[in-house]
Protein backbone atom coordinates (compact mmCIF):
# COMPACT_ATOMS: atom_id res chain seq x y z
CA UNK A 1 0.00 0.00 0.00
CA UNK A 2 1.35 3.43 -0.92
CA UNK A 3 0.31 6.83 0.45
CA UNK A 4 1.26 10.45 -0.22
CA UNK A 5 1.33 12.81 2.75
CA UNK A 6 1.19 16.54 2.13
CA UNK A 7 2.37 19.40 4.27
CA UNK A 8 0.24 20.99 7.00
CA UNK A 9 -2.80 18.97 5.98
CA UNK A 10 -4.11 18.03 9.38
CA UNK A 11 -7.52 17.22 8.00
CA UNK A 12 -6.13 14.39 5.92
CA UNK A 13 -3.55 13.18 8.42
CA UNK A 14 -4.68 9.83 9.65
CA UNK A 15 -6.09 8.69 6.31
CA UNK A 16 -3.17 6.38 5.60
CA UNK A 17 -3.23 4.80 9.05
CA UNK A 18 -7.03 4.45 8.91
CA UNK A 19 -6.78 2.70 5.54
CA UNK A 20 -4.10 0.33 6.82
CA UNK A 21 -6.11 -0.32 9.97
CA UNK A 22 -9.16 -1.27 7.90
CA UNK A 23 -7.07 -3.55 5.68
CA UNK A 24 -5.57 -5.32 8.69
CA UNK A 25 -9.03 -5.74 10.24
CA UNK A 26 -10.25 -7.37 7.04
CA UNK A 27 -7.32 -9.76 7.23
CA UNK A 28 -8.46 -10.70 10.72
CA UNK A 29 -5.22 -9.81 12.52
CA UNK A 30 -5.22 -9.61 16.35
CA UNK A 31 -6.58 -6.26 17.66
CA UNK A 32 -3.41 -5.44 19.61
CA UNK A 33 -1.28 -5.79 16.46
CA UNK A 34 -3.69 -3.59 14.51
CA UNK A 35 -3.66 -0.97 17.26
CA UNK A 36 0.14 -0.88 17.42
CA UNK A 37 0.49 -0.50 13.65
CA UNK A 38 -2.21 2.20 13.53
CA UNK A 39 -0.66 4.22 16.36
CA UNK A 40 2.89 3.95 15.00
CA UNK A 41 1.76 5.00 11.54
CA UNK A 42 -0.47 7.84 12.67
CA UNK A 43 2.35 9.31 14.76
CA UNK A 44 4.59 9.08 11.72
CA UNK A 45 1.98 10.79 9.55
CA UNK A 46 1.55 13.59 12.08
CA UNK A 47 5.33 14.06 12.27
CA UNK A 48 5.46 14.41 8.49
CA UNK A 49 2.65 16.95 8.46
CA UNK A 50 4.25 18.98 11.25
CA UNK A 51 7.88 18.93 10.18
CA UNK A 52 8.26 17.94 6.53
CA UNK A 53 7.20 19.58 3.31
CA UNK A 54 5.95 16.33 1.89
CA UNK A 55 6.36 12.63 2.28
CA UNK A 56 5.27 9.17 1.36
CA UNK A 57 4.49 5.99 3.22
CA UNK A 58 4.85 2.43 1.99
CA UNK A 59 3.29 -0.42 3.91
CA UNK A 60 4.03 -4.06 3.21
CA UNK A 61 1.88 -6.71 4.86
CA UNK A 62 3.26 -10.24 4.99
CA UNK A 63 1.99 -13.27 6.94
CA UNK A 64 4.77 -12.71 9.51
CA UNK A 65 5.13 -8.95 9.87
CA UNK A 66 4.01 -5.50 8.77
CA UNK A 67 6.68 -3.20 7.39
CA UNK A 68 6.19 0.56 7.31
CA UNK A 69 8.56 2.94 5.53
CA UNK A 70 7.97 6.67 5.96
CA UNK A 71 10.07 8.94 3.75
CA UNK A 72 9.98 12.72 3.85
CA UNK A 73 11.84 15.65 2.31
CA UNK A 74 11.79 17.65 5.51
CA UNK A 75 14.53 19.43 7.43
CA UNK A 76 15.95 16.26 9.00
CA UNK A 77 16.39 15.62 12.70
CA UNK A 78 19.27 17.48 14.31
CA UNK A 79 19.68 15.25 17.34
CA UNK A 80 17.94 11.87 17.03
CA UNK A 81 18.77 10.84 20.59
CA UNK A 82 17.17 14.02 21.94
CA UNK A 83 14.15 13.65 19.63
CA UNK A 84 13.62 10.13 20.99
CA UNK A 85 13.19 11.47 24.53
CA UNK A 86 9.58 11.62 25.67
CA UNK A 87 8.50 15.24 26.08
CA UNK A 88 11.09 16.75 23.73
CA UNK A 89 9.40 18.62 20.88
CA UNK A 90 10.20 21.26 18.28
CA UNK A 91 6.59 21.53 17.11
CA UNK A 92 5.25 25.07 16.68
CA UNK A 93 2.60 26.63 18.93
CA UNK A 94 -0.31 26.18 16.51
CA UNK A 95 0.38 22.46 16.37
CA UNK A 96 0.41 22.26 20.16
CA UNK A 97 -2.96 23.99 20.24
CA UNK A 98 -4.38 21.11 18.22
CA UNK A 99 -3.28 18.69 20.93
CA UNK A 100 -0.08 17.51 19.28
CA UNK A 101 3.54 18.39 19.84
CA UNK A 102 3.73 16.73 23.24
CA UNK A 103 7.05 15.17 22.32
CA UNK A 104 5.53 11.70 22.29
CA UNK A 105 5.62 10.98 18.56
CA UNK A 106 8.91 9.15 18.12
CA UNK A 107 8.72 7.48 21.57
CA UNK A 108 5.21 6.23 20.70
CA UNK A 109 6.46 4.93 17.35
CA UNK A 110 9.31 3.09 19.05
CA UNK A 111 7.04 1.70 21.76
CA UNK A 112 4.50 0.37 19.27
CA UNK A 113 6.92 -1.20 16.81
CA UNK A 114 9.23 -4.19 17.26
CA UNK A 115 12.01 -2.66 15.17
CA UNK A 116 12.58 0.95 14.25
CA UNK A 117 15.41 2.69 12.42
CA UNK A 118 15.78 6.39 11.66
CA UNK A 119 17.92 7.55 8.75
CA UNK A 120 18.10 11.33 8.67
CA UNK A 121 20.14 14.02 6.98
CA UNK A 122 19.83 17.71 7.77
CA UNK A 123 18.25 19.62 4.88
CA UNK A 124 17.56 16.44 2.92
CA UNK A 125 14.97 14.45 4.82
CA UNK A 126 14.21 11.57 7.10
CA UNK A 127 13.33 7.93 6.53
CA UNK A 128 11.80 5.97 9.37
CA UNK A 129 11.39 2.23 9.02
CA UNK A 130 9.22 0.30 11.44
CA UNK A 131 8.37 -3.34 11.69
CA UNK A 132 5.63 -4.99 13.73
CA UNK A 133 5.78 -8.77 13.96
CA UNK A 134 2.50 -10.64 13.79
CA UNK A 135 4.10 -13.65 15.41
CA UNK A 136 7.08 -12.79 17.57
CA UNK A 137 10.16 -14.31 15.90
CA UNK A 138 11.74 -17.09 17.93
Amino acid sequence: MHFQVSSEDFTRAGEASSAVKKALKKLGLPPDIIRRVAIAMYEGEINMVIHAKSGEIDVVITPDYIDMTLRDNGPGIQDVELAMQAGYSTAPEEVRNLGFGAGMGLPNMKKNSDEMTIDTELGVGTTVKMKVYINTPS
Binding site: F10, T11, A13, G14, S17, S18, K21, P31, R35, A38, I39, Y42, E43, I46, L98, G99, F100, G101, A102, G103, M104, G105, N108, K111, N112
Partner: protein
Protein backbone atom coordinates in the same frame (compact mmCIF):
# COMPACT_ATOMS: atom_id res chain seq x y z
CA UNK B 1 -23.28 -0.01 30.37
CA UNK B 2 -23.64 0.92 26.71
CA UNK B 3 -23.11 4.26 25.00
CA UNK B 4 -26.85 4.64 24.35
CA UNK B 5 -27.65 3.97 28.03
CA UNK B 6 -25.14 6.63 29.10
CA UNK B 7 -26.68 9.04 26.57
CA UNK B 8 -29.81 9.14 28.77
CA UNK B 9 -27.86 10.61 31.70
CA UNK B 10 -29.05 14.21 32.26
CA UNK B 11 -25.47 15.53 32.47
CA UNK B 12 -24.71 14.64 28.84
CA UNK B 13 -26.11 15.95 25.59
CA UNK B 14 -25.50 13.61 22.68
CA UNK B 15 -24.22 15.58 19.69
CA UNK B 16 -24.11 12.37 17.69
CA UNK B 17 -25.13 8.87 18.69
CA UNK B 18 -23.64 6.17 16.48
CA UNK B 19 -26.07 3.59 15.15
CA UNK B 20 -23.92 0.72 16.38
CA UNK B 21 -24.10 0.56 20.20
CA UNK B 22 -20.98 -0.29 22.20
CA UNK B 23 -20.45 -1.54 25.73
CA UNK B 24 -18.15 0.78 27.68
CA UNK B 25 -15.55 -0.83 29.89
CA UNK B 26 -13.79 2.24 31.30
CA UNK B 27 -13.25 5.97 31.21
CA UNK B 28 -10.14 7.87 30.17
CA UNK B 29 -9.14 11.57 30.45
CA UNK B 30 -6.49 13.38 28.42
CA UNK B 31 -6.21 16.43 26.17
CA UNK B 32 -2.88 15.74 24.53
CA UNK B 33 -3.68 13.64 21.51
CA UNK B 34 -0.27 12.03 21.26
CA UNK B 35 -0.53 10.84 24.84
CA UNK B 36 -4.12 9.69 24.42
CA UNK B 37 -3.18 7.82 21.27
CA UNK B 38 -0.76 5.61 23.10
CA UNK B 39 -2.85 5.11 26.19
CA UNK B 40 -6.62 5.46 25.71
CA UNK B 41 -7.97 1.95 26.37
CA UNK B 42 -10.14 0.37 23.68
CA UNK B 43 -13.89 0.47 24.46
CA UNK B 44 -13.51 3.34 26.92
CA UNK B 45 -15.31 6.68 27.11
CA UNK B 46 -12.71 9.39 26.48
CA UNK B 47 -13.33 12.72 28.20
CA UNK B 48 -11.48 15.70 26.73
CA UNK B 49 -11.82 19.37 25.78
CA UNK B 50 -10.49 18.72 22.27
CA UNK B 51 -13.48 18.73 19.93
CA UNK B 52 -11.46 18.72 16.73
CA UNK B 53 -11.02 16.40 13.79
CA UNK B 54 -7.78 14.96 15.09
CA UNK B 55 -9.42 13.84 18.34
CA UNK B 56 -11.89 11.81 16.26
CA UNK B 57 -9.02 10.29 14.28
CA UNK B 58 -7.31 9.26 17.53
CA UNK B 59 -10.57 7.77 18.86
CA UNK B 60 -10.89 5.70 15.68
CA UNK B 61 -7.31 4.44 15.93
CA UNK B 62 -7.71 3.54 19.61
CA UNK B 63 -11.11 1.84 19.20
CA UNK B 64 -12.70 4.37 21.52
CA UNK B 65 -16.45 4.41 20.73
CA UNK B 66 -17.37 7.57 22.67
CA UNK B 67 -15.84 11.03 22.92
CA UNK B 68 -17.19 13.28 25.70
CA UNK B 69 -16.40 16.96 25.16
CA UNK B 70 -16.28 18.64 28.58
CA UNK B 71 -16.43 22.26 29.79
CA UNK B 72 -19.00 23.14 27.11
CA UNK B 73 -16.21 23.29 24.56
CA UNK B 74 -17.28 23.38 20.95
CA UNK B 75 -17.17 20.59 18.42
CA UNK B 76 -15.81 21.55 14.99
CA UNK B 77 -18.14 20.88 12.07
CA UNK B 78 -15.59 18.66 10.29
CA UNK B 79 -15.16 16.71 13.54
CA UNK B 80 -18.93 16.04 13.64
CA UNK B 81 -18.86 14.84 10.05
CA UNK B 82 -15.89 12.59 10.68
CA UNK B 83 -17.55 11.14 13.81
CA UNK B 84 -20.59 10.22 11.74
CA UNK B 85 -18.47 8.68 8.99
CA UNK B 86 -16.49 6.63 11.48
CA UNK B 87 -19.33 5.73 13.86
CA UNK B 88 -17.88 7.51 16.91
CA UNK B 89 -20.50 8.82 19.37
CA UNK B 90 -20.07 12.41 20.61
CA UNK B 91 -21.44 13.85 23.85
CA UNK B 92 -21.19 17.38 25.16
CA UNK B 93 -21.34 18.45 28.78
CA UNK B 94 -20.85 21.62 30.80
CA UNK B 95 -19.10 19.58 33.49
CA UNK B 96 -15.35 19.63 34.00
CA UNK B 97 -13.29 16.74 32.66
CA UNK B 98 -12.98 15.33 36.18
CA UNK B 99 -16.68 15.60 37.05
CA UNK B 100 -17.76 14.11 33.74
CA UNK B 101 -15.33 11.21 34.14
CA UNK B 102 -16.49 10.65 37.72
CA UNK B 103 -20.13 10.38 36.62
CA UNK B 104 -19.20 7.89 33.92
CA UNK B 105 -17.04 5.92 36.34
CA UNK B 106 -19.91 5.71 38.85
CA UNK B 107 -22.37 4.74 36.11
CA UNK B 108 -20.07 1.96 34.94
CA UNK B 109 -19.51 0.73 38.50
CA UNK B 110 -23.20 0.70 39.43
Amino acid sequence: MTVSQLAKHPSFTPAYLASEDHTLTGVYCCDLLSVAMGRAPADSAWVTVMGNLNAIAVAVLCDVPLLVIAENMGIDEDARKKAQEEGISLFQTELSVFDAALIIHKALSA
